[in-house]
């Protein structure tokens, strides 16, 4: 490589010697560039965590701005959807329509008008079509086979939101179909028609049976129609109670109906009701009224149980978003407290004995914390929580800048505190003197996962006073910090001596105030880093601490 006469030329030798003596000190960004390109796993970690936090904040913000459907309504919609899917392919309204179930019976005809009226017998195809919303179908001359119809409608008639205004009119004359509507729920008749398929009957057969039944009712006193419609109500209640409470009542109603009509309903389709039966029916009007009362009581019971939204039950999970401006500082420890006393991790400063705290000029600075947590209410007053939090903390250093770099030695100690090695670098930041006085900042960017509890101490549902505590495993995302050299004469940067994983503890007390669907909170907090900022190799311990004022918003999760 080298030519033989290289050193023969004195001029070349001089140039070589002088250039070899020359040294330049690169800026810190060169090492950062090298370090970042060599340790890309950290970048992935930071990117992943940033994505995670961003995602949480995005969904949390979206939930606050545009809340999802109330759980009670969602449950109703789901239930309606399920039953509708089982019986019909048409979409079922999520909210139960209010309707008054009114039954009229006459000797000539019976009419049921729903939200969409159905005219039976106008065509089997129409009856099968489930997409005929708005079509008016009028039931005329209906003869209903009560057991069959009850079976069909047991799936269909939903519990109305209003108590059935059941009116029994024992009339011998014809009643206009339009003048005496009988309102049932919209789904009832739809399912009635559709239900024919479920029981193996053709729709046409069902309608024929209904028509025949009501035709037979022409000659009766009308109680057949009444009992049938009453049975509709009963079966609707029974359905709403999940076939638990209505069995007895249905049996009684059927019994009463049989008594009134003088036998099975199917028998009525083959013979007209005698005058004596009509008389006995009139005589039993009192018992019908009692049955009506029982029905209303049953309805009230079921309405309270299944329809009224639950009120007292509180949700257990909450989303909490917080922001805290903080004042950050640190505690420094590690030093020779006295002659002959062995202090682990003691710095090696022959010229400046004692704690490092005495030789530095530091001051607090402002930082912040932002994060989100999920709270789970264990008891009425106690909640546990876990989440993610980003922490930016810093404090200021008063030091001196100089033009010429000076050697900066950092002693490295073993686990037991003995000095075993040293790191040497160069710095232009002096602790005791230099060209100009400068203020430097020690910045720390941490991601932590607070896990802890909140305890309600005082207050009611609207205004509360709480205390809380957390333990926070944290990861140092980045730092721009100066470390004190071992002889305390300067500051240098040595990222490899920073502890990446750490633990912090947090204490807080806050007031919460409930406004609408959210709860606002504000109060002081204190955060202390439990382990030193530096690894155990660095002889000086630094524990960061922050005093903050946390403000937050809490919203229940669906």
């Amino acid at each position: 490589m080298k030519e033989s006469n290289f050193y023969s030329d004195e001029f070349e030798q001089l140039i070589r010697e002088k250039t070899e003596q020359y040294k330049m000190y690169p800026s810190e960004k060169v090492w950062k560039g090298v370090h970042n390109s060599l340790h890309t796993k950290r970048k992935w970690f930071i990117g992943t965590m940033a994505f995670l936090v961003g995602g949480i904040l995005f969904f949390a913000g979206r939930e606050l701005i545009n809340p999802s459907v109330h759980p009670v309504l969602a449950t109703k919609a789901l239930a309606a959807s399920d039953s509708g899917a089982a019986l019909s392919k048409t979409p079922v309204p999520a909210v139960i329509r209010r309707s008054a179930l009114t039954a009229y019976h006459s000797t000539n005809n019976a009419t049921a008008i729903t939200g969409r009226d159905i005219s039976a017998g106008t065509g089997n195809e129409e009856a099968q079509d489930q997409s005929y919303k708005g079509i008016t179908i009028t039931l005329s001359h209906l003869v209903i086979s009560q057991p069959d119809l009850s079976e069909f409608l047991s799936h269909a008639v939903r519990l109305p939101d209003e108590a059935p205004a059941l009116t029994v009119i024992a009339s011998k004359g014809n009643i206009s179909a339009d003048a005496v509507p009988a309102k049932v729920s919209e789904d009832a008749l739809a399912h009635n028609i559709h239900g024919a398929g479920e029981t193996g009957q053709k729709p046409g057969e069902t309608e024929r049976t209904v028509a025949a039944e009501l035709a037979d009712a022409d000659a009766s006193d009308g109680l057949n129609a009444r009992s049938v419609l009453e049975s509709l109500s009963e079966k609707g209640v029974q359905e709403a109670r999940n076939s638990r409470l209505g069995h007895n009542l249905l049996a009684r109603t059927r019994s009463a109906s049989s008594t009134v009509s003088g036998g099975k309903v199917s028998d009525l389709s083959e013979s007209r009701v005698s005058d004596s039966a009509a008389i006995s029916a009139n005589a039993s009007a009192t018992s019908i009224a009692e049955a009506s009362d029982r029905e209303r009581l049953t309805w009230l019971h079921d309405y309270a149980m299944y329809t009224l939204p639950s009120t007292a039950r509180q949700p257990r999970t909450y989303l909490q978003l917080t922001l805290s401006p903080t004042i950050n500082y640190r505690t420094l420890s590690g030093g020779d407290d006295g002659p002959g006393k062995f202090v682990p991790q003691a710095p090696v400063s022959p010229l400046h004995p004692g704690d490092a705290q005495r030789y530095v000029d530091h001051s607090p600075a402002i930082g912040f914390q932002v994060g989100g947590s999920v709270l789970y209410r264990v008891t009425r007053n106690l909640s546990i929580k876990g989440g993610l939090q980003f922490n930016f903390s810093q404090y200021k250093i008063r030091a001196y800048a100089s033009n010429s770099p000076q050697q900066a030695t950092i002693a490295l100690s073993s686990y037991y505190g003995y000095i075993i090695d040293s790191l040497t670098s160069y710095t232009r930041v002096g602790n005791f003197g230099g060209r100009t006085q400068q203020t430097y900042s020690n910045d720390y960017y941490q991601l932590s996962a607070p896990v802890g509890f909140e305890l309600r101490v005082l207050g009611n549902e609207r205004l509360q006073f709480n205390i809380g505590a957390t333990i926070q495993p944290s990861y140092l995302l980045n730092t721009n910090s100066y470390m004190l050299t071992s002889d305390y004469t300067g500051y240098t940067k040595e990222p490899s001596l920073f502890r990446r994983w750490n633990f912090s503890g947090g204490l807080e007390a806050f007031l919460t105030y409930k406004v609408g669907g959210v709860r606002l909170q504000a109060g002081p907090e204190f955060r202390y880093q439990l382990l030193s900022t530096y690894t155990t190799q660095y002889p000086i311990n630094e524990n960061l601490k922050g005093y903050g004022f946390k403000i937050g918003i809490v919203k229940e999760l669906p």
């Binding site: 490589m1 080298k2 030519e3 290289f6 004195e10 001029f11 070349e12 001089l14 140039i15 070589r16 002088k18 250039t19 070899e20 003596q21 020359y22 040294k23 330049m24 000190y25 690169p26 800026s27 960004k29 060169v30 090492w31 560039g33 090298v34 370090h35 390109s37 060599l38 340790h39 090695d421 790191l423 040497t424 670098s425 160069y426 040595e494 990222p495 490899s496 001596l497 190799q537």
Partner: protein, 191 residues
């Protein structure tokens, strides 16, 4: 930390060992880069790229030579590759007669300082400077230089001869070197 410990740590991708290696050699290597580069920023970019190569290829170091020499070769090659990306640099290698360099004469003779010599080298045209750096300071042969720079060996020789002459002239004008008749006495005096 011993060099062996640093090497072992770097092989394990330990940040502390890498930092120690960097702290130990980066001042010298930045000076090398500075002699090739246009300015300090370019030099730092070259240094960063060079050290990334050092750490990523450290497993190829076979302990047969000096560790510093191995690092230095990587840094120099990185500098040359960076220079070759510059069109002006490639053109400058073909210029046989460089334009005269304006050098202000110093009124007072000064002590020869390393920085002065380096700054004088940087006054040379880029083509001259590169060949001078590679041959006189880094110790490459003209054949190696010709291969590295994709030029003829004769071109490398002529460039070096002119570069040396020009540098000497600059040093004399700046009173860093004595005039030829005083040269031998001066060389003795400065050592």
């Amino acid at each position: 930390m011993t060099e062996e410990a640093i090497l072992q740590g770097c092989l394990k991708n330990e940040a502390a060992a890498q930092r120690e290696l960097y702290n130990r050699y980066s001042p010298k290597m930045l000076a090398v880069c500075y002699r090739f580069a246009h300015n300090r920023e370019d030099a730092e970019d070259m240094l960063q790229e060079g050290f990334i190569k050092v750490f990523s290829q450290i497993h190829t170091f076979q302990n047969k030579g000096a560790f510093e020499g191995w690092i230095r070769r990587i840094i120099v090659h990185t500098c040359i590759n960076n220079l070759k990306k510059n069109k002006r640099f490639n053109e400058s290698l073909d210029i046989v007669h460089a334009h005269g360099v304006q050098v202000r004469e110093e009124s007072v003779p000064s002590i020869v300082q390393a920085k002065q010599v380096v700054e004088c080298i940087r006054l040379l045209p880029i083509g001259y400077r590169t060949v001078l750096n590679l041959y006189a300071i880094e110790g490459y042969s003209h054949k190696e230089i010709a291969d590295m720079l994709d030029i003829e060996e004769s071109t490398s020789r002529s460039q070096y001869t002119r570069a040396k002459q020009m540098l000497e002239d600059i040093l004399i004008r700046k009173k860093i070197l004595p005039k030829p008749r005083e040269k031998s006495e001066w060389l003795v005096a400065i050592r």
